[in-house]
Symmetry: C2
């Protein structure tokens, strides 16, 4: 990268993962229609996105089919119905799914061998205290032939010494990527620097990339993703129109408008957003608003803000502030 005006150059190794269907599934219990998933898939292919995360591999026991859509379980036949005989070499797009530690996923049984699946990448999501299980999950997925990534969630709430411990374990796993996940959307620029630098140092020489997954509670998801890129993160997550729980995510269209790799195309994303994602705004509430700002300031999970936004007075900011700050 040139040091004169790096913002007009690019790093070929920087890869974008669109998790519209996976993380957006937390807004609508993964009840996307096949047509919607197909539209996102085709937009990702045309836009030059590197990975599309098509859902969770969670259990039907914990997430029953009568309530949750197929993108919460991602059975191979559901994926195939949408992507057909998807070929990463032809399309330039790899598919990913997320499996959770802590009993949400039957990870020992839910994965086919890579050769029998349309999926290329398994992303393992865990909280810091679940790192030992996550390491087993990564081993398992790796043995089945998948690329693997480790997403350590809610990192803004984890103590330094625990992060150091988690990264030491992560270093020994087969994960090719370890992702800084700001679940609370609470990180400011200097904290992103601190974490990304720590991750890079802890994983140095282990052949692993650092990733960034940001939430928009403080309107900083895109900015924090840029910051991570400047610091050398080569894997970044985003969703179309920021679709995601609460304040939502870094917007894929902002990210692709920023990145200068000529393989990325903005227009197909805009078309998909206009035709498919924007209409969802009629039914679903997401994006930054003052209740999410407040949970972000407090480094709190956005669940209280989500409940408040779902209530009778979603814009009674003062009452929510009093509840969260003065009555705390």
């Amino acid at each position: 990268m040139s040091s004169k005006a790096p913002w007009i150059t690019y790093r070929p190794e920087l890869k974008v993962l669109d998790c519209t269907i996976r993380d957006g599934g937390l807004v609508n219990d993964s009840n996307f229609t096949d047509d919607e998933v197909k539209a996102v898939y085709e937009a990702c292919v045309e836009a030059g996105v590197d990975y599309m995360e098509i859902g969770y591999k969670n259990t039907e026991q914990a997430f029953p089919r009568k309530h949750y859509g197929p993108w919460r379980h991602c059975h191979e036949e559901d994926i195939r119905r949408v992507v057909g005989d998807h070929d990463p070499d032809q399309t330039g797009l790899k598919l990913a799914v997320m499996i959770d530690a802590g009993g949400k996923s039957d990870w020992k049984t839910c994965l086919l061998p890579k050769a029998q699946s349309a999926i290329s990448l398994i992303r393992v999501a865990c909280y810091a205290n679940q790192i030992s299980e996550a390491a087993e999950m990564l081993d398992h997925a790796h043995r089945l032939g998948y690329e693997t990534s480790l997403n350590i969630m809610a990192i803004s709430t984890v103590k330094e010494v625990e992060i150091d411990q988690v990264l030491e374990i992560a270093r020994g796993t087969p994960a090719q990527v370890v992702v800084v996940v700001d679940s609370n959307g609470a990180l400011y620029r200097e904290q992103v620097d601190h974490l990304v630098t720590k991750y890079r140092k802890a994983l140095e020489g282990a052949g692993k990339e650092v990733g960034m997954h940001a939430h928009n509670n403080l309107q900083l998801a895109f900015a924090n993703t840029i910051e991570a890129i400047i610091l050398g993160c080569n894997r970044v997550d985003a969703t179309m129109l920021g679709l995601g729980r609460g304040a939502g995510n870094c917007h894929t269209e902002l990210l692709l408008g920023f990145l200068r790799n000529p393989k990325f195309k903005l227009r197909p994303l805009l078309k998909c957003i206009q035709e498919r994602i924007l209409p969802m705004k009629q039914k679903l509430d997401w994006g930054p608003s003052i209740p999410y700002n407040i949970t972000g300031f407090l480094n709190a999970h956005p669940r209280d803000a989500m409940a408040f936004r779902d209530g009778a007075t979603p814009d009674d900011y003062v009452t929510f502030y009093d509840q969260m700050v003065l009555d705390a």
Copy 2:
């Protein structure tokens, strides 16, 4: 500032200017009611905001009263009707107005001597090629007894050598503050660094502060303001709920939630936003959206995006993209 965790400390010399009424006046032709202006004024006092910019001092000839509200001209009697015998020492709040170069303001005649005015700070706005007139304006306001600030607009479109020239002239003026103004909302983090560092170097030892005025076309207004603060900017502009033309501004409530000076209080701002600013959203369109993203990517004035948002198909993003990018 401590280097261990600077994000939880503060710089007492960092001052916040709320320009809700001034910059927000570009959305509604400055047609705020007296009650609205008074509510913003009282919120600024209670929140510990340092400066409130209450409007433009533009001419009635260019901006006739039958179309524009009183906050486009800021006659002393209009200001007094709202703020009474405002006292900066009592309230902790100083009032500011903006005067424009280029014929929009009769700056030679429109200002009272400071001793006869509720105003403390005159902000001179100019484009780079108007810097010579701006220097005269600053001299004039300074001789009348005011604090002065120089806002050089649309800086993302000005060549490096011209910026150097402008800053050399700015250095010789009485302006206590020179503000980086990203009118197009087009600056990314590294460009903010480049400009703020350049301004600081050019003004070093001249007893001047550098300011930041950001727009939200790329959802980066707050992030770029934080970045400027990290780099030593001590004057930052914001508006409540980001009220401002097109994509709007850095949000005052996000800024005060971020700043750790205990004099700043968030609750009065939230109350004013909830009761006064949010209802304006029923009539007025502002805030980031894809057309503003696109003009931001292009480092273009948002006027085409504003016209498009005002048209029959404000969310036909693909057509706007084609118009701006493919048909360009």
